[in-house]
């Protein structure tokens, strides 16, 4: 089983790409906001751009090493890459596209045809064999592009936002299809995406990239529990409140940048910069503040209301923003509040998580 391991530096327009990562066989999702350097990273790995310094090891072989002056050209790296806009060859039909890599490697006609048929069958796209690529739908093009890449038996697969260009209906079908194909592959696969549902399909290994760096890696579950940046928090849908832990009268409390104070499980933190996170579904909403246990609360104006299935997400804003997710029954019980109305958001201290953290400068 071959692993991909790399450490790369490359200057981009506004920051430097500086990434070190090891990718085991199987799918690793590379997640990040637009302009974080994800596509640039794929281009560096595949040899289309030359890193400023660093190294790339794939299995036992070295693809790039700035100190040893090793820099294999892309055609010798055995890396399969599918661009976001696919780049199917317009002058070749489907089987011509899929067989292209084999033809360039001097594979004979018969053997090539056998491999093409095998792939078409495996990917369940036999019906497309003689089609002109211009007549394919977005989803079909995506399948042919992946087949073309897999035909050359790559040792590493790079997929750049494979479903972004598709319309929503095709997207969910391709997601499912990709999932069934990719889990069969025994090679390291880097899947760049913005798409939360795609991440949900490949939830075991996720690496988050921001400003040219890997800021967090782990399972989707870990991201959800401990988002290390506002981007991750927003992506997984967790409330992320930066601030600092302060000591007052021997007791600790959390003071947000917006000036609100909250209580949290303070066992493992010390005074200083910190981030408080809380799941939207752990926040309750009220018209009037209930009397009783000391709870964290925020009285704010409803910014927006998003109804998704039987869940309703309500964003409250005051000095800080809080997103609460309640059931539609709960929403009805509240009298279906609309944007502009005032509500109380309440959560228990022990349902929030707090960690000392320097904020990532954005």
């Amino acid at each position: 089983m071959s692993n991909l391991a790399f450490k790369l530096r490359y200057p981009l327009a506004h920051f430097e790409l500086d990434v070190e990562l090891s990718v085991a066989p199987g799918v690793t999702v590379l997640l990040g906001p637009n302009g974080a350097g994800k596509s640039s990273l794929l281009r560096l790995l595949s040899g289309l751009n030359k890193p400023y310094s660093g190294h790339i090891m794939l299995g036992g072989s070295c693809l790039f090493d700035s100190t040893q002056k090793i820099d294999l050209p892309p055609e010798q790296r055995r890396i399969g890459m599918v661009f976001q806009d696919l780049a199917l060859f317009p002058h070749l039909d489907v089987s011509g596209n899929i067989g292209f890599g084999l033809k360039m490697r001097g594979t004979g006609h018969g053997e090539r045809q056998r491999r093409i048929n095998q792939l078409l069958q495996k990917l369940a796209i036999e019906h497309l064999v003689d089609r002109n690529v211009a007549t394919l739908s977005g989803g079909e093009q995506q399948k042919v592009a992946l087949a073309r890449t897999l035909a050359t038996d790559p040792e590493l697969l790079l997929l750049d936002e494979p479903t972004t260009a598709l319309d929503p209906a095709a997207r969910s079908e391709i997601r499912r299809w990709l999932h069934t194909i990719l889990i069969e592959l025994k090679i390291p696969t880097l899947l760049v995406t913005h798409d939360a549902e795609e991440v949900a399909y490949f939830r075991k290994r996720v690496a988050v990239m921001e400003q040219g760096r890997i800021v967090q890696s782990g399972s989707f579950h870990q991201l959800l529990r401990e988002p290390t940046s506002e981007f991750v928090a927003r992506f997984v849908g967790v409330n992320y409140i930066p601030g600092k832990v302060q000591r007052c009268d021997g007791k600790l409390f959390f003071c947000s940048h917006g000036g609100l104070s909250f209580l949290a499980p303070f066992e493992h933190v010390s005074p200083g910069a910190a981030v408080l996170t809380v799941f939207p579904w752990d926040i309750a909403l009220y018209r009037d503040l209930p009397v009783g246990s000391p709870r964290n609360h925020l009285h704010g104006k409803v910014l927006d209301v998003v109804i998704r299935g039987d869940r309703v997400r309500i964003t409250l804003a005051r000095e800080d923003k809080l997103v609460a997710e309640i059931s539609s029954r709960g929403y009805q019980a509240l009298g279906e509040p609309q944007a502009g109305e005032q509500l109380w958001a309440v959560f228990k201290a022990r349902e929030s998580r707090i960690e000392n953290r320097e904020e990532l400068s954005c």
């Binding site: 595949s46 289309l48 050209p73 892309p74 055609e75 010798q76 790296r77 055995r78 890396i79 399969g80 890459m81 661009f83 806009d85 780049a87 060859f89 317009p90 002058h91 292209f100 890599g101 033809k103 360039m104 490697r105 211009a134 073309r148 890449t149 050359t152």
Partner: protein, 263 residues
């Protein structure tokens, strides 16, 4: 969008004037000689020879134009910034050169007393006033135009197609041959015909560098010049012949030219 009426009239008026300017002389030429006169021309040996020289020189030049021009155009389209601008200016040099001046310059480069004259004489090669001179003249004038238009063609290729080919294991040679060229093949065919048409019509550069020797260097354009002095009616007929050839080539260009930009 609704334009002011007067403005539309102004646009239509100037368009009509231009159309008249283009079509009137063409029509005059076509009316000047009858079909039977044209057929008669084709019985004239000297004219058949001129026709033959015209096609032979252009067809000999064409593969050389492709051989020199295609890699240069591809290379140029992959250049960026100042280097590209400098090279483009170099290409424009022969384009702005008056044809007669180009003929003189070629004579001074390859002629008997020219820069390369002695060197060529030593190996027993004499270029001026031969068919080779006609071909070189065509190369000199036509190739820069060809390169410039092909550069635009290569610029239009989506670079990701070529990158994909590389990633699939194709060498840069294979990528050029199996992706870059086929993707713009219709455009290249059209440019080839365009080059052919341009070469057929050359006059000034050929008469100075290759001379006007019937049966050796006299192309149809030069034959028209000769005929105009002795027998204008024959010159009109030859003119019509040359015009019809040009129209035929133009029709072919438009049949082959990509109707939309290549993907």
């Amino acid at each position: 969008m609704k334009r002011p009426r007067l403005f539309s009239l102004f646009l239509a008026g100037s368009g009509l004037l231009l159309a008249a300017l283009i079509l009137l002389p063409i029509l005059a030429l076509l009316l000047a000689s009858s079909p039977s006169e044209l057929l008669q021309l084709l019985g004239n040996t000297e004219i058949l020879q001129a026709l033959w020289i015209t096609f032979l020189s252009s067809l000999l030049a064409l593969p050389l134009i492709f051989l020199l021009g295609l890699p240069s155009a591809y290379g140029l389209s992959r250049c960026k910034g100042r280097l590209r601008r400098t090279l483009e200016i170099l290409l424009e040099l022969p384009m702005v050169m008056p044809p007669v001046v180009a003929g003189l310059a070629l004579l001074l480069a390859f002629g008997r007393r020219g820069l390369l004259g002695e060197l060529l004489a030593d190996i027993g090669v004499r270029i001026p006033f031969t068919l080779i001179a006609v071909v070189i003249a065509i190369l000199f004038v036509v190739t820069p135009f060809f390169v410039r238009r092909c550069t635009v063609l290569f610029d239009s290729i989506d670079y990701k197609l070529e990158e994909t080919a590389l990633l699939l294991g194709a060498s840069p040679w294979q990528t050029f041959w199996h992706v870059s060229l086929p993707v713009v093949r219709r455009g290249l065919f059209a440019e080839g015909i365009m080059a052919l048409a341009q070469g057929i019509g050359l006059f000034g550069v050929i008469i100075l560098f290759a001379g006007n020797l019937p049966g050796r260097t006299q192309t149809l354009s030069l034959a028209i010049y000769n005929a105009f002095e002795s027998d204008p009616q024959q010159a009109f007929g030859l003119g019509t012949l040359l015009l019809l050839i040009a129209l035929l080539l133009l029709a072919m260009v438009h049949m082959l030219a990509p109707r939309e930009r290549p993907i």
